[in-house]
């Protein structure tokens, strides 16, 4: 039964699925309210919502922050896989302690600090997911460029989104070659399972040999094309930066977003006092 389940899960988490999810996350949500915002506004927004929760100690305050970032994440229509990774990440950092304490009958004194910590980690992560997954790559890189991050980083982001589907497909085909032509050891016994694991790891390592050579072939054309397209001139020419950044504009949507966020943040800060009054 468990075997069947794990096989089923393995089938779902195929590299094909991963590729689809990553693409979905990168490109599938460019028409959301979050993606329409000015990248600079979102980056500043992240500076606050990604840091402020660390300085909060009260549970209601953090809960309110968490809810808010959860809503923005929902608005950004992030791919399910990213949320799964987020959940696993939070659990691995602090969540497991919280659950353990709960199971072993921890009292409020032990539970509260753990809950606080978990909420902090979760809200900060969600804020980063909202901004980095919600923005489409090009606007994100323009935004970073505006803040003076190196041009090389901004190019890398755009290029990464371009090359990712190609590389995923290449890796997928190479792994398939291994899978079809190779023969994985049977994994019925414990020893077999260990051998199977070793085999899988070995396959992944070996598949980088063909991948490296194939990518090397490609990157030569890419760099020549970049030269022809004047990429090197652009990095030395401030006019280019100016032209590029002139497309960024803060509109009324951004103002509404900032106002709403600021109002909500104030509400969060006032929350413990409000509760006291009630």
């Amino acid at each position: 039964m468990l075997e069947k389940l794990s096989e089923n899960v393995m089938d779902k988490v195929s590299i094909d699925y991963v590729r689809n999810q990553v693409l979905k996350n990168a490109y599938g949500n460019d028409d959301t309210p979050i993606a329409a915002l000015d990248p600079r506004v979102l980056i500043v927004w992240y500076l606050f919502f990604g840091i402020a929760p660390w300085f909060m100690g009260s549970v209601p305050m953090l809960l309110a922050m968490f809810l808010f970032t959860a809503v923005t994440t929902r608005l950004a229509r992030v791919a399910p896989l990213v949320l799964v990774i987020f959940a696993v990440g939070v659990f691995a950092q602090t969540g497991y302690m919280f659950v353990a304490a709960l199971v072993f009958g921890g009292n409020a004194d032990t539970l509260t600090p753990l809950l606080v910590l978990t909420l902090k980690v979760a809200s900060c992560s969600l804020a980063s997911i909202t901004v980095f997954s919600g923005l489409d790559p090009d606007r994100l890189s323009s935004g970073l460029l505006w803040f003076g991050f190196p041009e090389r980083l901004s190019f890398s982001i755009s290029f990464a989104y371009r090359i990712l589907p190609i590389m995923m497909e290449e890796l997928q085909n190479i792994l398939l070659s291994f899978r079809l032509r190779g023969r994985a050891p049977a994994h019925d016994t414990l020893l077999g399972k260990l051998r199977w694991l070793v085999y899988q790891v070995k396959t992944i390592v070996q598949s980088f040999y063909p991948l490296m050579l194939n990518m090397a072939k490609r990157s030569r054309t890419t760099v020549e094309a970049l030269e022809l397209k004047g990429y090197r001139y652009a990095s030395a020419n401030p006019d280019v930066l100016k032209i590029r950044l002139s497309s960024l504009a803060v509109g009324s949507n951004d103002a509404v977003f900032i106002a709403a966020s600021a109002a909500y943040a104030l509400f969060c800060l006032a929350l413990p006092a409000l509760l006291e009054v009630l």
């Binding site: 660390w54 100690g57 606080v116 980088f208 040999y209 490296m212």
Partner: protein
């Protein structure tokens, strides 16, 4: 003309290597991000599973471009693309990985010398792990003011961190860095360079680092890395160890923080637009 052309060729090679290293290591970290970290008992495999990729490339090509490419690739593919950006704490990983890869690449003068390749790969892993462990220890020291005063704390921190580092080194250092690098370097040597239009590395044309400056730069970068890591930890620890803060106090503190951030950003905006309009 010949001088500028040679320089330009070197530039283009560096860009090629950067692109190659960024995309390969980026993809690898993306994949490893998707494999949840394995925990067996108290032994956690917090492994840089794919460090062998930049290590191999650094031994064959320009180490600096490989190091920067690998660090950028990790940042872009696994942090930004998946939205798992951990804030300023990422700086630590960025720098420790770059330093380790760069050093490994410069040490190997001749990739055909397998002994050297092995030592460099293992050494780089050890260096990277030692740096992370050092940063972790510093974090605790920084966070707990009465570090020495808490009985047993220094010993237990040093022990657990040291144990984790040694465990990682033996396990991941050998399985994921040493063996794959020894497998890949001789196979790729002489094959991958012509694809990029370069000559294979020999002792004559190997990159020669300026030792003194290199060491100084490494130390400086390590300090920055440690600082960044501590900073990222600061928020968490302050609240944890000073739990008796009053609610008002906290609100004021947060208010201050907000003000500071907004002020900083506003200043920066002014500076930036001034610079742009001058350009």
């Amino acid at each position: 003309m010949s001088v500028t052309s040679a320089e330009q060729t070197a530039q283009s090679h560096k860009l090629m290597v950067f692109v190659l290293s960024m995309s390969l290591y980026g993809l690898a970290t993306l994949v490893s991000e998707l494999i949840p970290s394995v925990q067996v008992g108290i032994v956690e495999f917090s492994v840089e599973f794919f460090l062998f990729i930049p290590l191999t490339l650094a031994m064959l090509f320009d180490p600096l471009s490989v190091a920067l490419g690998a660090a950028t690739g990790e940042l872009v593919f696994s942090e930004i693309m998946l939205g798992q950006f951990g804030g300023i704490g990422e700086v630590e990983k960025f720098l420790t990985v770059s330093i380790a890869v760069y050093l490994a690449g410069t040490v190997v003068h001749d990739p055909r010398n397998l002994k050297l390749v092995g030592v460099a790969a293992f050494g780089a892993t050890a260096l990277q792990l030692a740096m992370s462990a050092g940063v972790d220890i510093l974090k605790v020291v920084f966070a707990v003011e009465e570090f020495e005063a808490v009985p047993g704390l220094p010993e237990s921190v040093f022990f657990t961190e040291g144990f984790a580092a040694v465990n990682d080194l033996l396990f991941s250092g050998i399985l994921f860095c040493l063996l794959p690098t020894l497998f890949l370097v001789p196979r790729l040597y002489g094959k991958i360079e012509p694809l990029l239009g370069m000559k294979p590395r020999t002792p004559e044309n190997a990159p020669r680092p300026v030792v003194g400056r290199l060491a100084a730069a490494s130390v400086a970068l390590f300090v920055v890395a440690a600082g960044a890591a501590c900073l990222s930890e600061a928020g968490m620890s302050i609240v944890e160890w000073e739990a008796d803060w009053a609610g008002d106090m906290q609100a004021i503190f947060v208010g201050l923080l907000v003000a500071v951030v907004i002020a900083l950003v506003a200043c920066y905006c002014l500076f930036r637009s001034a610079k742009l309009s001058r350009a």
